[in-house]
Amino acid sequence: SQLAEENLWALSVHEGESVTVNCSYKTSITALQWYRQKSGEGPAQLILIRSNEREKRNGRLRATLDTSSQSSSLSITATRCEDTAVYFCATESNMGYKLTFGTGTSLLVDP
């Protein structure tokens, strides 16, 4: 079974709008990461949020973590065309070194 999964496969917004990507996971975690992968590139980390944190910000990005419902969200405000990418959440398994990525949400930001 997947340890992490995003709730929507694809989203489309107009530039300047806000958007939220959701992620649910099935085991207890110590941290959750959000990554962005642009077409043809390797992923790049956006935010790392630890289990004792409820919210983390990075510029226009805001991640939340709810350990009681085992879910996380990534919100992007004032979207730009360059935010077009696939967004993954990633959590650890009890194997320690294994980082499990969700299925990804493809975000398209239209001009």
């Binding site: 975690i29 110590t30 941290a31 959750l32 990461q33 043809g40 590139e41 390797g42 992923p43 790049a44 980390q45 790392l48 993954f88 990633a90 959590t91 650890e92 398994s93 194997m95 320690g96 070194y97 294994k98 980082l99 499990t100 990525f101 969700g102 299925t103 990804g104």
Partner: protein, 114 residues
């Protein structure tokens, strides 16, 4: 500054042929190293990780093997490619384990097996 280099950039190979992909990390001593595989349009699946020279742990079995001959080098290989090996191979490094730390990814190698 740390840099991560993967080679080759892309490969087209025949089923049954051997494969060797490489990854080099410069500017960071004793990193944890990882290999990931990504099918087109799919998620990233971790294949191997290594926390020290000469030691590699397998995460999933895909008829691939990995080695870490030097502190800054990670090699992914197989003697006989399958069609299912096609995809995007990514090398990554981190200082801490799992989700505790950022994983920094290389540019990837795109592999097409025919």
């Amino acid at each position: 500054a740390q840099t991560i280099h993967q080679w080759p950039v892309a490969e087209i190979k025949a089923v049954g042929s051997p494969l060797s992909l490489g990854c080099t990390i410069k500017g960071k001593s004793s990193p944890n190293l990882y290999w990931y595989w990504q099918a087109t349009g799919g998620t990233l699946q971790q294949l191997f990780y290594s926390i020290t020279v000469g030691q590699v742990e397998s995460v999933v079995q895909l008829n691939l093997s990995a080695s870490r001959p030097k502190d800054d080098q990670f090699i992914l290989s197989t003697e006989k490619l399958l069609l299912s090996h096609s995809g995007f191979y990514l090398c990554a490094w981190s200082l801490e384990r799992g989700a505790q730390d950022t994983q920094y990814f290389g540019p990837g190698t795109r592999l097409l097996v025919l």
